[in-house]
Symmetry: C2
Subunit: 125 residues, 2 copies
């Protein structure tokens, strides 16, 4: 099913949905299955968590136009709804200025904290 910038997709366990550093062109809503969110810092893989049914992943890069902050890998066979960049952005751009400011602020803080956390975890004390 494809309509208005939204399409159903399936992926197999082990499939890399997107990789840290890539340009983001889609966000994904999880219908079925579990995906792992991880980053590589100084060659070490750090798992930040998982996303499952009802959750959205990959939206940050669509909001702030920065590269993907993490790699997302399917842990199971997954059913996803892919939302195209323009379709997603139209919704965000329609919200009021204060809310958009907050979304940008939170993403900025999340990226900064993910960097710091990566540094701390891989630091030799």
């Amino acid at each position: 099913m494809t309509s208005k910038g939204v399409s159903d997709i399936e992926c197999r366990a082990g499939h890399v949905l997107f990789e840290q550093g890539q340009v983001g062109d889609r966000a994904y809503i999880v219908r079925k299955g579990l995906l792992e969110v991880s980053r590589k810092v100084r060659g070490r893989k750090i798992v930040f968590g998982t996303v499952g049914p009802g959750e959205i992943v990959g939206e940050m890069a669509l909001i702030d136009d920065q590269p993907r902050m993490a790699t997302v890998t399917a842990l199971d066979d997954c059913d996803l709804v892919a939302v195209e960049r323009a379709h997603f952005r139209a919704r965000i751009d329609a919200t009021d200025k204060t809310t958009r400011h907050l979304l940008h602020k939170f993403i900025h803080l999340l990226r900064a904290m993910a960097d710091e956390l990566g540094e701390e975890i891989t630091k030799i004390k």
Copy 2:
């Protein structure tokens, strides 16, 4: 000046605007001055950053009804605009469901990352 849940306030350098763990009743827009955002983890103060003119602080607890995640202290004499909880929430509640979901998700991740970062910084490796 006070109108519709918004009021101008001044605070002196050193004043603690709010403390980690408190119930949040207001958000603040910074007009003048700099404020420090910090947390206490295992008795150690961790500075997360500063907020300055044009920035908003204290809004997370108003969105997710959880206690203040950090302590905010004025570093200079500051001019702020205090926004009452109900006034702030009315704006958030008026945004679409997807955007509200994202705001909640980002705050949830920020709180979790702040906890993890605190643990990592104070960990003896």
